[in-house]
């Protein structure tokens, strides 16, 4: 029986509970991250029975001669400085104290009693987005996590990360575990523990290697594990091929594929090479950017130039900012690029000496009824946009080219959020477009593929695709046209069978 212990409240800083975890790269990264979130106070729950750790204990550690305990600690971080008295007032439902603690909550770390890898399930708030107005950070896969401390509910938005323990899970297991927490698929399955993820990977794709201690997963095992959780794996290989083998990604293909899925709420497993070894991480967000300039008659991918991608890397920590660059051969690689510091502390940056990661494959878990691949959507979208751009150029040679982006969305979110983002200032058109999509278009699938076409002159039109058929047959439900100048050209191309036939929703101001 564990002896009762009190909650501990103390200042964030040297000698705190986080410092007791040692100077690993992950602990140091978390320290810097929390410093830049202006962390001031740590509340420690001395006993926390963590579902993931209990599964790890049952699967592996319980049979060790070391005698691992079955209970963890949980550290909660706050940006407000407060003492135990304030915590007691909040727990006693003092409204001001509750508000203060909730508003300053930064997240939590579960500390496992595993000396070599103590950092268990960790969710920390994103940095404040200083460029939200001009180039917002896209972090759609994030979700809310509720924690309860003596009846006090605290909420943090993020996506769970943890350090690999190299026994129950390696980088592949924890990357997949993070991915399965995503907002887009959390409602499709029960959240598995790391032990369940590793077992699922071995259930039907046996490699001959033992399950525990785990020595890593093959890409086939990752895909099979995804299927074990009633989801479907989507594999996107790099487009730079030599001798019939996928070598790496070009920048556009990598950025386009990642952003399409992250915009859709799906984290992306990045598989590739790190300093000569195979490595897996989980991409959870990206920094948007203006699209490249499209030459006349051409089409650029809107997200080809995104500068940064945010990655859960078990070697470093959650939401590590990586820059996307290319070498002389056009191969995309990722290097940590820490954002400007907020705090004035001297905590070293463990990402500085981290080698470049060169991705070769992406793997994404999607609901089973979403059958369209991001590649098929890109091909269909680029085909349509290129034909429109070519005709516009032929009509008026001075017109700029177009840009295009893709994503998947539940139909309800397209009707509610996506259309609202475009048409909120013109409610009459918004209502007309929503009703037209429901009353004039054949019943649409639960998820729609969205191709969004625009350019320097603004957003021009969306194309909505059925996602429940095969890539060889990708029906279009509707065109939603916002640009009044472009509308007659889209209609004419459809009439000439140069674009697939589908209903055209007039969402123009005219």
């Amino acid at each position: 029986m564990h002896s009762p212990k009190p909650l501990e409240v103390g200042p964030f800083g040297a000698g705190d509970e986080l410092a007791k975890l040692g100077g690993s790269d992950q602990a140091t990264y978390l320290r810097r991250y929390l410093e830049d979130l202006d962390a001031a106070t740590i509340v420690t729950e001395p006993y926390y029975f963590d579902r993931d750790y209990l599964a790890e204990l049952a699967a592996f550690y319980s049979l060790s001669a070391h005698g691992y305990p079955n209970v963890c600690r949980r550290l909660h971080f706050f940006s407000e400085a407060f003492d135990r008295g304030e915590l007691e007032r909040a727990i006693a439902n003092d409204a001001a104290a509750v508000l203060r603690l909730r508003a300053s909550y930064l997240g939590f770390v579960v500390v496992r009693p595993i000396p070599a890898s103590p950092l268990g399930r960790t969710v920390v708030r994103w940095y404040h987005d200083r460029d939200a107005a001009s180039a917002p950070r896209i972090m759609t896969p994030s979700r809310d996590y509720d924690c309860h401390v003596a009846g006090l509910r605290l909420t943090v938005q993020g996506l769970a990360w943890q350090q690999q323990d190299s026994a129950v899970g390696t980088c592949a297991t924890v990357a997949l575990w993070s991915m399965l927490h995503s907002s887009a698929i959390a409602g499709y399955h029960a959240l598995p523990t790391t032990a369940q993820v590793t077992r699922a990977a071995h259930r039907t794709a046996g490699s001959g290697r033992r399950v525990f201690p785990n020595a890593g997963l093959d890409i086939e095992q990752l895909c099979e594990a995804i299927k074990e959780f009633d989801l479907s794996p989507v594999v996107v290989p790099g487009d730079i091929v030599r001798d019939g083998q996928v070598v790496r990604f070009s920048r556009e293909r990598f950025a386009a594929s990642c952003t399409a899925m992250i915009r859709s709420g799906f984290p992306v497993l990045l598989l590739g090479e790190l300093d000569g070894s195979a490595h897996a991480t989980c991409a959870v967000g990206f920094r948007s950017s203006n699209p490249p300039t499209a030459a006349r008659g051409n089409v650029v991918h809107h997200d080809a130039n995104v500068p940064f991608i945010y990655i859960h890397d078990d070697n470093l920590g959650p939401s590590v900012r990586f820059s996307i660059s290319t070498n002389d051969d056009g191969v995309a690689s990722l290097r940590p690029a820490a954002p400007p510091r907020v705090a004035a502390t001297q905590t070293p940056d463990p990402t500085v000496r981290y080698p470049a990661f060169v991705p070769s494959h992406l793997v994404v878990a999607v609901p089973e009824d979403l059958r369209t691949s991001p590649d098929a959507l890109h091909v269909a979208g680029l085909d349509i946009a290129t034909k429109v751009s070519t005709v516009l150029q032929a009509v008026q040679g001075s017109l700029p080219g177009l840009s295009m982006t893709t994503r998947f969305s539940p139909l309800r979110d397209y009707l509610r959020r996506e259309l609202d983002q475009v048409l909120a200032t013109t409610p009459a058109i918004l209502g007309r477009a929503r009703l037209a999509l429901l009353e004039h278009v054949p019943p649409m699938s639960r998820h729609v593929g969205i191709v969004r076409v625009g350019g320097d002159a603004g957003l021009q039109f969306d194309v909505l695709f059925d996602t429940t058929d095969s890539d060889a047959h990708l029906p279009i439900f509707a065109y939603v046209v916002y640009g009044s100048e472009v509308l007659p050209f889209v209609a004419a191309l459809i009439a000439h069978d140069e674009l697939p036939r589908a209903y055209v929703v007039d969402a123009t101001l005219g």
């Binding site: 592949a172 598989l271 699209p291 890109h378 005709v391 009509v395 982006t405 959020r417 350019g455 004419a492």
Partner: protein, 68 residues
């Protein structure tokens, strides 16, 4: 968490660059049908070239070692 807080899928268009009025005054020519017929082959060829990076066959057996 609100939708805005997650920047749900926002797309940047025309963020102060280029010419936001580029399409203003674009008129439908009387011979649009003829123009479409004339450039259709060129448009299809351009589209076929543009989509090539997204037509890589899916192959799995390229990672020689398990990822760890």
């Amino acid at each position: 968490m609100s939708d805005d807080e997650r920047s749900q899928g926002k797309t940047l268009w025309n963020s102060g660059r280029g010419d936001p009025t580029a399409f203003d005054g674009l008129k439908v020519p009387d011979d649009l049908d003829e123009i479409i017929r004339r450039v259709s082959k060129q448009a299809r060829a351009a589209a076929a070239e543009r989509v090539k990076p997204y037509q890589t066959p899916v192959t799995l057996a390229t990672l020689r070692y398990p990822v760890k």
